[in-house]
């Protein structure tokens, strides 16, 4: 086991996807926080939940364990950390692109998010992933999974998911 390369571990972990949004790997999502290999060659993988009650985390943990075993990194330690708290800013560019292709509007940078309240004129538009129009409206801040809000396009009238900034 000595000489395991963190890069090789990361490459193997690209097979682990979010069970609720399977186009995203846990790396795309920013859930994979760290991969280390200590002097004895022992692999440690650190993950963090998106939401406190994220039901996907147990599945992700099991998938990480399985995939590492398949790639010869059996016995790796999987650590879950809460701090620092996950933010959508950790989602990779690649992740944002995949989301949009899947018909889910990617999150806005959290710095651009106005304080919650009756929706003001948006600082940065949430574009319809179907027709590209910036003329969209919030239907509900809570969607099909904890991380998504439901919006609708005023131009093409299609409802769509928006990965909400957190």
């Amino acid at each position: 086991m000595t000489g395991a390369d963190p890069g090789a571990v990361r490459a193997a972990l690209r097979e682990v996807v979010d069970p609720e949004i399977p186009v995203l790997t846990i790396e795309d999502l920013g859930v994979l926080r760290d991969v280390t290999v200590d002097a004895d060659g022992r692999v440690e993988v650190t993950i963090t939940p998106t939401y406190s009650g994220c039901p996907a985390l147990d599945t992700i943990r099991a998938d990480v364990d399985r995939v590492l075993g398949e790639h010869g990194f059996a016995g790796a330690r999987i650590r879950t950390v809460l701090a620092p708290a996950w933010t959508t800013d950790w989602m990779t560019e690649e992740g944002r692109r995949k989301l949009a292709e899947e018909g889910i509007a990617p999150p806005r940078p959290t710095a651009a998010i106005p304080p919650l309240g009756p929706e003001p004129v948006p600082v940065e538009l949430v574009r319809c992933p179907r027709c590209g129009s910036g003329d969209t409206r919030l239907v509900s801040r809570f969607g099909s999974t904890a991380c998504k809000a439901l919006r609708a396009c005023n131009r093409c009238l299609e409802p769509f998911d928006h990965f909400k900034a957190l």
Partner: protein, 250 residues
């Protein structure tokens, strides 16, 4: 120090757990599909917070009890949640009034708890504060819509606010435990949340054309394990499966 920290984590965890259980009672029967989903999502956030907090309480206690043991195997008298969260859902207005009062308290609390000298509590709070911001916003939106809506929605929203108001006083009441832990920089003194709680709730009520009730009757005792009649029924339902089939798993 250790029993105090365990008791504090339990108290915060019990608030989240009991409210999560109440909110899932709306699953499949909320007024609209979007609300069904919203309330279930809020419940899920709270359940996640409860798991972290109860798990930590068990760890600090060091007696081998995990989050499931604390949730499913403690009797009513050992739950230290506030009385507000165990109150029945009532109509949708009552649920929203309870959400407004509790999430305003919880957000103010978590925003301060991020500075706790206890690293685990600070981490749980940092994560949860972002979630509860959405909960408060949701309840605020509904309070405005119902209060400043039709004659009937206004009547119901005011009735809900009046009925639940007395239970809010317990949220902001300090006791020996919070005094000791706040002095150690671990807990937040609940009375220090008063200004923020009043400012938000009073502004929302005023904009919703609702009247802020006068402070009067102040029921309490939840933090000492003395509950209203409603908690026992809630726990009976929540704990039934686990007690009937110990160790049951999905």
């Amino acid at each position: 120090m250790i029993p105090d920290l365990c008791a504090y984590a339990l108290r915060l965890g019990d608030d989240a757990l009991v409210l999560a259980q109440r909110l899932v009672e709306w699953s499949s029967r909320a007024p609209a599909l979007e609300e069904d989903i919203a309330l279930s999502n809020i419940a899920l956030d709270l359940l996640g917070q409860a798991r972290s907090l109860l798990g930590y309480a068990g760890e600090v206690e060091g007696a081998g009890r995990g989050d499931d043991d604390l949730a499913y195997l403690r009797p009513e008298g050992e739950f230290t949640n506030c009385l507000l969260v165990e109150q029945p859902n009532g109509d949708f207005a009552a649920t929203m009034a309870r959400q407004l009062f509790f999430s305003t308290y919880q957000l103010a609390l978590y925003r301060r708890l991020v500075n706790s000298a206890d690293e685990t509590l600070a981490a749980v709070a940092a994560k949860a504060a972002k979630e509860v911001d959405y909960h408060r916003d949701h309840a605020t939106g509904w309070t405005l819509r119902l209060g400043d809506g039709t004659e009937e929605s206004h009547r119901r929203m005011q009735a809900a606010v009046d009925q639940l108001w007395p239970f809010t006083l317990e949220l902001l009441a300090p006791d020996g435990l919070t005094d000791r832990l706040a002095a150690a920089g671990v807990a937040v003194d609940p009375s220090s949340l008063r200004a923020e709680w009043d400012a938000h709730v009073e502004a929302v009520l005023a904009e919703a054309t609702l009247t802020r009730p006068a402070d009067g009757w102040q029921p309490g005792g939840g933090r000492q394990g003395r509950h209203t009649e409603h908690l026992g029924y809630l726990l009976a339902e929540m704990q039934h499966l686990h007690r009937s089939h110990p160790g049951a798993r999905w």
